[in-house]
């Protein structure tokens, strides 16, 4: 392992991270070696500012027991209660002007809100801003009374920013990005400003039920059987994320493995998905289906139904016309008396 990490180039690092081929503990150990080799004499400060949030994006971190120690060793998380006007004007200007700013949750448009007052100034002096979770990352469906973080706070400043969306966001993405920032700077981003190393491949391409998808073997209703959940509205074909390889909470489990269609929770269109909703079925074009059978499934089904109905009707008519009436009892006088 020492040999491997001694030669860990950025290219190799990104490849390993994106493929999920190195576990969190190994990743931490390897990066620790690299950080020490890079002779970083200061721990990059992190300011983790929470707006209105339920905390779902942080919960997964408990599944990486090494996380607190690692973060403590190589980063310096500032308690949010210490972040105020005095901090911005303090002697510790290096910290105040070189921090990594994590924004989690929704931020109100209330001018009297103390966080609202501070956040704009913090963004301007940040080294980079990470928008953690869908609330911070995607402003399209922000409820009334809250800001679209990107449009209202980040469009007009030069501070670079990136998004780690999801419901919840994957803790491994946060860890990977923090380390990339320290070792190699800002990672390559996709058109939605998500790190390309995590958001390049479709869920469907790496799903365990991919062969069922190709063969047109689909689950028809929730809980029917194990298999491809495309007909139940699975958004795997159009969702870019690493769930099938990284799984969740340090286990071998993830949404599709538990029998639930992917809801596309890290896509900007979530949860509306252009009117389809979480469980609306994608069209074959949206799903980029190559299989002839799947593309024409509906037509084939309708065609088969029509042919079957016609056959049954023809059979019934011909049967009635040609066969003698059997099993009918002629009415008797006793019946009439009754």
């Amino acid at each position: 392992m020492d040999t491997f990490f001694n030669h860990l180039t950025r290219r190799k690092f990104v490849k390993c991270l994106a493929a999920g081929s190195i576990s969190i503990p190994i990743l931490m150990k390897g990066l620790a070696q690299n950080l020490m080799a890079a002779e970083l004499d200061t721990r990059p400060p992190i300011i983790w500012l929470k707006g209105q949030t339920s905390g779902i994006h942080s919960a997964g971190i408990w599944n990486f027991p090494e996380f607190p120690g690692f973060m403590d060793r190589f980063f310096r998380i500032m308690p949010a209660s210490d972040i105020n006007r005095d901090f911005l004007q303090s002697d510790d200007s290096e910290v105040a002007s070189s921090h990594i700013l994590i924004l989690e949750g929704l931020f109100t448009d209330d001018p009297d809100d103390i966080v609202n007052d501070l956040i704009k100034d913090l963004i301007v002096v940040s080294r980079v801003v990470i928008l953690l979770g869908n609330d911070a990352a995607y402003g399209k469906h922000v409820p009334e009374g809250f800001m679209d973080t990107e449009r209202n706070l980040l469009y007009h400043v030069e501070t670079p920013y990136l998004k780690l969306p999801g419901a919840p966001a994957h803790p491994r993405h946060l860890l990977g990005v923090l380390n990339h920032l320290v070792l190699y700077g800002l990672p390559e981003l996709d058109i939605f400003r998500r790190p390309a190393l995590f958001f390049t491949d479709n869920i469907c391409e790496r799903c365990e039920y991919r062969s069922d998808f190709e063969a047109g073997r689909f689950v028809r209703y929730h809980g029917e059987k194990e298999g491809c959940l495309y007909l139940l509205g699975c958004k795997g074909p159009m969702t870019k994320n690493t769930c099938p390889i990284e799984k969740w909470n340090g286990t071998s489990s993830w949404c599709v493995a538990a029998g639930s269609p992917c809801t596309g929770c890290s896509e900007p269109a979530y949860p509306v998905h252009g009117g389809l909703g979480m469980y609306g079925q994608l069209s074959s074009r949206d799903a980029s289906i190559n299989s002839f059978f799947v593309r024409h499934l509906e037509t084939i089904t309708q065609g088969t139904a029509v042919v079957a109905a016609a056959a049954i009707a023809t059979h019934a008519i011909s049967k009635r016309a040609s066969s003698p009436i059997k099993g009918q009892r002629m009415p008797t006088l006793e019946d009439e008396d009754e």
Binding site: Q52, T53, S54, P65, D72, A167, E224, C255, A258, G280
Partner: protein, 487 residues
């Protein structure tokens, strides 16, 4: 004249502000909440199954309970009962998520209020509080003694490991944590509940069992013994509500743990859902039937006297305490579970409380510990007895085309949680949530009756001058999932 005492209470879900009204003898405290996400309105027009997913985003600690209440409401609408095997899996999920919430509550939300730099200098482990906005101050009044505080702090890595094991166990069944993906009307979607999976969960829980059965109870016991003020009962008269346990899927122990009911003036009554109402007094919501002409919805940011988005839940116009203590007391009075009655009886005697006034920080914390021990034992029993060949759901497609309604009642870690759904033509036409936050964190209603925590804060204020730390301690002694209440 109002003065902000705490701009933002740290280490809770959502936003909560504490404000003082008036001065001198006339002063009082009230709670202001963060804004509403209008989740209930945003669900209107959606396919009903989406509610199961969307409502889980409201809370890290109570997300599982929201999912279960939501799916129960859909089952109530569909008139579809979950299979016994599915009920067992749901029972495991709810028990484990409640257990996790209680551990997090004690070690990460409440404990830091009683720690100072002395404790940290002995034990370290500050890195475990990184995301919890904890900055240890110098030694202050009411802090834990150096010995007790340091000892409890030394157990933090063990508590973190317990959270890891519990979350893993939930994720193995539910797909991921804290958002469960396997719940559907009539059951669960899992297909690989094989021997290996069950054994993996059992091993996880066996590893964390000593912490849950010994370390955590011993920490809470030392905590209570070291802090006599936690046994003080600030408000003598309190009414209690509990929705009871989920059915375990076995006829003989359908009410295995908790009875449902309301305890009003020490008299136990069955729950009548129609008596659960919500006060809009001091909220930004307009009365039913009125609409804001500017934004065409039912909220008004400039409503006179408005200060919170937490609607005040009331039962028969009375504020009610809900949570682990309420669950235990209601069951104790109902007499359906001798083990719980025995635990409650001994706890009340040991703390020197009375059955008619049991509500103090110590009893609430101990009730959570007792619940944790019962839940780990029960979960392991279910896992060991689990029959793998039973159907996990009703194997049927869902028909949401008819017009109708459904209600789901579940006990979340913080207490009674109600979901009510109205459906027509495959779409949600109305959605209603009443969470534990609406019961405990509500402000005063039109009858002048305050919610549980506001009452406790003001009763304490009448006896002494409260510091911000003392106020924070009172708030943190309850499960504070504010976004649950503002939605």
């Amino acid at each position: 004249m109002n003065r902000t005492i705490i701009e933002r209470v740290p280490r809770i879900e959502g936003v909560l502000k504490v404000v003082q009204h008036g001065f001198g003898l006339d002063k009082s405290l009230f709670l202001e909440s963060g804004r509403s996400r209008h989740l209930e309105q945003s669900l209107v027009g959606k396919y009903p199954l989406e509610a199961v997913q969307s409502t889980q985003m409201l809370s890290e600690s109570a997300g599982m309970a929201h999912a279960l209440a939501s799916v129960s409401a859909l089952e109530n609408y569909l008139q579809l009962d979950p299979t016994p095997a599915a009920l067992q899996i749901r029972q495991i999920l709810l028990q484990l998520s409640t257990l996790r919430a209680h551990i997090l509550h004690f070690y990460w939300e409440l404990l830091p209020d009683y720690l100072n730099q002395d404790h940290i200098s002995v034990s370290g482990n500050l890195s475990y509080f990184q995301r919890y906005d904890f900055h240890p101050n110098e030694k202050g009044e009411g802090d834990l003694s150096k010995e007790v505080g340091s000892t409890i702090l030394e157990h933090i890595p063990e508590a973190a490991r317990a959270l890891d094991f519990i979350q893993q166990s939930i994720a193995l069944l539910a797909g991921k944590f804290p958002v469960a993906m396997n719940l559907i009307p009539g059951g669960v979607t899992n297909f690989s509940v094989d021997r290996a999976l069950l054994m993996k969960i059992i091993r996880n829980l066996q590893q964390t069992k000593p912490f849950i059965e010994e370390t955590w109870p011993s920490d809470v016991k030392s905590f209570v013994q070291d802090l006599p003020e936690t046994v003080v009962v600030p408000v003598k008269k309190v009414n209690l509500i509990s929705f009871g346990s989920l059915s375990s899927g076995k006829k003989e122990d359908a009410e295995r743990f908790y009875s449902n009911g309301v305890l009003i003036d020490n008299k136990l009554e069955p729950i009548n859902e129609l008596l659960i109402t919500e006060s809009l007094n001091h909220t930004f919501f307009l009365p039913p039937g009125r609409q804001n002409s500017q934004n065409q919805n039912n909220v008004d940011y400039s409503k006179e006297g408005a200060r919170t988005w937490i609607r005040g839940a009331r039962y028969d116009a009375e504020p009610m305490l809900t949570g682990a203590l309420a669950r235990m007391m209601v069951t104790h009075f109902g007499g359906s579970n001798l083990e719980i009655s025995d635990l409650v009886g001994r706890m009340i005697d040991d703390l020197g409380l009375s059955e008619s006034s049991p509500n103090c920080s110590a009893s609430r914390l101990l009730a959570e510990v007792f619940e944790g021990r019962l839940f780990i034992k029960s979960t392991l029993e279910i896992l060991l007895d689990f029959e793998r060949n039973q159907p996990l759901n009703r194997q049927t497609a869902f028909d949401f085309s008819a017009s109708g309604t459904g209600t789901g009642l579940v006990e979340s870690p913080g207490g009674a949680l109600l979901h009510q759904v109205f459906i027509n033509d495959n779409r949600i036409t109305q959605y209603r949530i009443v969470s534990s936050t609406n019961w405990n964190f509500s402000t005063s209603d039109t009858n002048g009756k305050r919610g549980i925590i506001e009452s406790e804060l003001n009763a304490s204020l009448e006896k002494q001058v409260l510091s911000t730390r003392q106020i924070s301690r009172i708030i943190h002694s309850y499960h504070a999932q504010i976004q649950d209440g503002t939605r």
